[in-house]
């Protein structure tokens, strides 16, 4: 759980650092109902995309975030929080 929270924090801070908060929040909010389908599509593509990845565990963590809408909600909240602090 702590590891997941750390990953969420890292992801949120990288998004805010690159000034992508608005576009990421807009995209995730509009695609939130389809997040589970997206996570399953990523699982389906994993054997193929895995060949290009140096850190497959990061990919798995991303799938876990998309699979669970509560976690996705936490990511959005974290992005908004960091954006306010900027």
């Amino acid at each position: 759980m702590v590891e997941q929270d750390e990953f969420l924090d890292l992801l949120a801070s990288e998004i805010v650092k690159r000034r992508l908060a608005s576009i990421v929040v807009l995209t995730l909010e509009s695609l939130k109902p389809l997040s589970f389908l997206g996570s399953q599509a990523l699982i389906f593509l994993e054997p193929f995309l895995g060949a290009f990845m140096t850190k497959p565990e990061t990919y798995k963590k991303l799938i876990e975030i998309l699979e669970d809408r509560d976690r996705l909600e936490r990511l959005l909240e974290r992005i908004e929080e960091l954006e306010r602090q900027r």
């Binding site: 109902p33 589970f36 389908l37 399953q40 054997p47 060949a51």
Partner: protein, 233 residues
């Protein structure tokens, strides 16, 4: 004697089966719409069903069209009593497919990269021509339009908008000089063109979604509840 496919088609064409199908479709439509209220078990059921059915259908379809029709039937027609000469090259594709599956065995998983390299190389080779002609050459060609003669006044205005839009937008992405003075003004106009383009794209996306929604509402009110008059055609 009827084949299995014909028997299934007969069952599906039965009016009762079609009614049941409409009710299942209506239930699933409402289950998906229920997300507008909040996330709930009906929506979860619908999305899990969608994932399961898609995966199952895709697997069956791929096995049938790629493995059976394109590989086995073409490689061993005599064995299956089909007319035609054997084409053993299709087995190379099958071998590459098996190599791709070696990813599941950690010791030899590196071999799957051969198949992936082949797929990517082939896809790039096949698509590069169409991509360049449709996304580069066709767009450049459409930008080379007459500005002073060769069309109605309205067409010339349209051509000037294209010319200025492309020029100003390209200047916005020209970072070799500081965007000050005349260059800054042109780049500012470029931003406006880009924003109008993004706005039109967004509006088009919303319009597409609305048309999908209308399709579902027509289905619910027409096919399911029979509350709409039948179309004249």
């Amino acid at each position: 004697m009827q084949g299995l496919g014909d028997q299934i088609a007969n069952v599906l064409n039965d009016p009762m089966a079609q009614t049941i199908g409409v009710w299942i479709a209506a239930f699933l439509t409402l289950a998906v719409f229920s997300f507008l209220f909040k996330d709930n078990p009906f929506y979860k059921f619908a999305e899990h069903l969608f994932v399961g059915v898609s995966a199952g259908y895709l697997t069956a379809q791929t096995l049938r069209s790629n493995v059976w029709d394109e590989m086995v039937k073409k490689a061993f027609p005599k064995l299956l009593g089909i007319p035609g000469t054997p084409n053993y090259w299709t087995l190379v594709g099958g071998a590459l497919g098996i190599i791709l599956l070696l990813r599941l065995i950690p010791k030899v998983s590196w071999m799957s990269r051969w198949a992936i390299a082949f797929i990517i190389g082939l896809t790039a080779g096949i698509t590069i021509h169409s991509q360049i002609s449709s996304f580069v050459i066709a767009q450049v060609y459409d930008t080379l339009v007459p500005l002073f003669s060769g069309g109605s006044p309205a067409a010339l205005v349209h051509n000037w908008v294209i010319f200025l839009g492309v020029l100003c937008s390209l200047v916005y992405f020209f970072f070799s000089a500081e965007h000050k003075g005349a260059l800054g003004l042109v780049s500012r106009i470029g931003i406006w063109f880009l924003m109008v383009g993004f706005g039109a794209g967004y509006g088009f996306t919303v319009m597409t979604r609305i048309s999908i929604l209308l399709g579902r509402i027509y289905f619910l009110l027409g096919d399911w509840l029979h509350r709409l008059p039948k179309p004249p055609w």
